[in-house]
Symmetry: C2
Subunit: 403 residues, 2 copies
């Protein structure tokens, strides 16, 4: 791809072309983890390159998380992107950069940032409708508040893990509908949730809401999220205070943070919102992103959710999350909730794909409902870059280990 654009050799179909330039944190051998930018199959080791070029803030790339860079705010994010953009294009930079290109295969990717608060929304109408039908078959699938506000809740920040971390099957209480008392044991309905996560860079002040139009001042970019879910634990525990242990055992995120600037070419209008939203949720720049997800179970594609179908925009989620005066911090993560489209093959969880486990999927000749020990889940996604090429979001992977 784009060998005419950049002096770096980038394989065809690489998610990380010269327009993408996502940031992450890598560990090479037993050196200290530090910040890199992905390009093709390589990582640019940013600290030495930025230091040699006397880039402002170059020391922040030597740190083991992106947080200090994220705290700099949008002007610095833009300047860094512009610098990187030129670096991979200008042949005169080749001698300075080439010694600091590291093969991605040589490193271990880390959690890219230290997570402050983690909020999970429920922004896909198709997902909320599917779950309403499954959990409350005798009533309206969408609850009365759903189209008035982006429903969300706080998840556990301390159990957000890097892609590749094994997921131990959680144990806990679950109760069959016809049982008189709960039992304890490993979850029998272990599931995934395919989500897009928004990473906050610029913090806000307690008591001051973030207007819906200030989204891009506060959010740096996105990661892929797999919000692992134990449906049996969740069903028994979740009234009246919401999901807790059914979710808190682990949430996996992808290693590369894709900037909003890289994503901007894939911006699309929101689906129509009816009834009209209250003024604090209405704005000039309400948009979604046109991102195609793929879910692989043991290497076989089982679903392809479309993000552009999502009902609530990320700017609305941020405005709602802070309308009560709650502040955000650098490193806060808020996720879309499960992304499901209208098609059966566009659903972002196995409880939807198998309709509560009653309609198994046939995958590689074998019937599948919920996750079995040893199952590997890969979520990947693609948008379109400014030059029309594919712009990848990388992947988030996890394998289920026995309880």
């Amino acid at each position: 791809m784009s060998s005419a654009v950049t002096w770096i050799d980038i394989p065809a179909n690489s998610p990380f072309g010269p327009d993408n330039l996502p940031l992450g944190v890598f560990r090479l051998d037993d050196e200290e983890p530090r910040v890199g930018a992905a390009i093709g199959d390589h990582i640019i080791d940013l600290a030495p390159v930025a230091s040699a070029q006397m880039l402002n803030g170059s020391q922040l790339f030597a740190r083991p998380s992106l947080n200090d860079f994220l705290a700099l705010g949008r002007p610095a994010w833009r300047a860094t992107r512009d610098w990187l953009f030129d670096l991979v294009r200008n042949p005169n930079d080749r001698d300075a950069v080439e010694p600091h290109l590291i093969p991605q295969s040589a490193v271990t990717m880390q959690l890219p940032f230290t997570v402050g608060d983690y909020v999970d929304f429920y922004a896909s109408e198709h997902h909320a409708t599917n779950l309403g039908r499954l959990f409350r078959p005798d009533s309206e699938p969408l609850l009365p508040n759903w189209k008035h506000l982006p429903v969300g809740y706080h998840g556990r920040a301390g159990t957000i893990v890097a892609s590749g971390t094994d997921i131990v099957r959680p144990s806990g209480q679950r109760k069959a509908p016809d049982a008189t008392a709960p039992t304890y044991g490993p979850s029998q309905r272990l599931d995934i949730e395919v989500e897009l996560g928004y990473v906050v860079g610029t913090p806000s002040t307690l008591g001051t809401p973030i207007p819906v139009d200030a989204f891009e001042e506060h959010v740096y970019g996105v990661v892929l999220v797999n919000d692992w879910s134990a449906r049996d634990l969740q069903a028994w525990e979740y009234v009246p205070l919401g999901p807790f242990l059914g979710k808190s055992f682990a949430t996996s995120i992808s290693p590369w943070v894709i900037s909003l600037d890289a994503l901007s070419a894939s911006a699309v209008p929101l689906p129509p919102q009816d009834p009209p939203v209250l003024p604090y949720l209405a704005g000039q720049k309400l948009q979604n992103y046109d991102i195609t997800f793929e879910v692989l179970l043991n290497g076989h594609r089982v679903s392809s959710p479309q993000y552009k179908e999502t009902y609530w925009s990320p700017a609305q989620m941020l405005a709602h999350m802070t309308v009560n005066g709650a502040s955000v911090r650098t490193g806060d993560l808020y996720a879309s909730g499960t992304i499901s489209g209208p098609g059966k093959d566009q659903r972002g969880s196995f409880i939807e794909l198998t309709w509560g486990g009653r309609e198994p999927l046939l995958v590689d000749g074998k019937e599948h409902t919920f996750l079995e020990d040893g199952d590997e889940i890969t979520i990947t996604a693609w948008a379109t870059g400014s030059d029309g090429s594919r712009l990848g979001l990388g992947e988030v992977v996890g394998t289920i280990r026995p309880a």
Copy 2:
């Protein structure tokens, strides 16, 4: 109090006698915040005293949060308490300590630790029953799961604030039961929740539950918590994923962390649990603490909740929170949920004290339901020390500012 025991002059009725020795973080003038121990009306500036006595880890007291000290674990917590215990008793230490006694009136107390994850439980049977009656008057007040597991959810860690921080009245969506659509505006049902918060010191490993008997290995001590709540926001938003903006605008905690060792003399058996709990929630050392709370509205006592009535023990809450393999980190905070006793004057929230706002309280000749702008709430609490004297938990204070 105890002038025979300690060489420090401690006023009668001080919450901080020579058995208590709570730790907190203070700021004196424009010096860096650092760790101190409360005694009487004074603070022992621990860094210079510990350093002069070559105490192991003395440099941790020079830091602006307790986290690094909390991470040391129980043997170090005990050793530090023993050292402090002797320091305030031994007249030979007077010359070394006295220059580092600072009047509490001269400092500003800070948030004592950086909060990791914040979990709020719902552990008081009287509170859960009261809220069930108020919110679901036509059904059983306790939901089927309530006596099988300590119901809880994650709250917002980034908006936990130090005692004394003003609370701006939150705005958001609320819908009257007979209205067809929600409106936006300042909360009209702003409330408190009187809670006890448990502070995690020793972290655990992802995938490994904490047994119910390991509570004291992981938890350092307690703080007072006021979990401010906007009942109108909460009522409209909370299905199906639980409380979010109705709580996330602010949670206040007291400045002094009382160690479990100081509290140990006030340990009492749990109330009987029927039905019996599952084995992972059963243990040899299940206990509560006998702590009397007081709630003051603008200086007038309006309630006196008793902690010993709480149904679920803190060890059970910790075991449940981690039974799915979720890990805890140093600085995690989990709170009891609102503490209410059987008596009308033992309820820990105004929604209970005024029965949904329908039975106003008469306070200083004026009728009160929910909080008005300018209202000041003080929560204070007392246990009993090993010598039978009162052992105070200090106080958590907040004043409501207009939206």
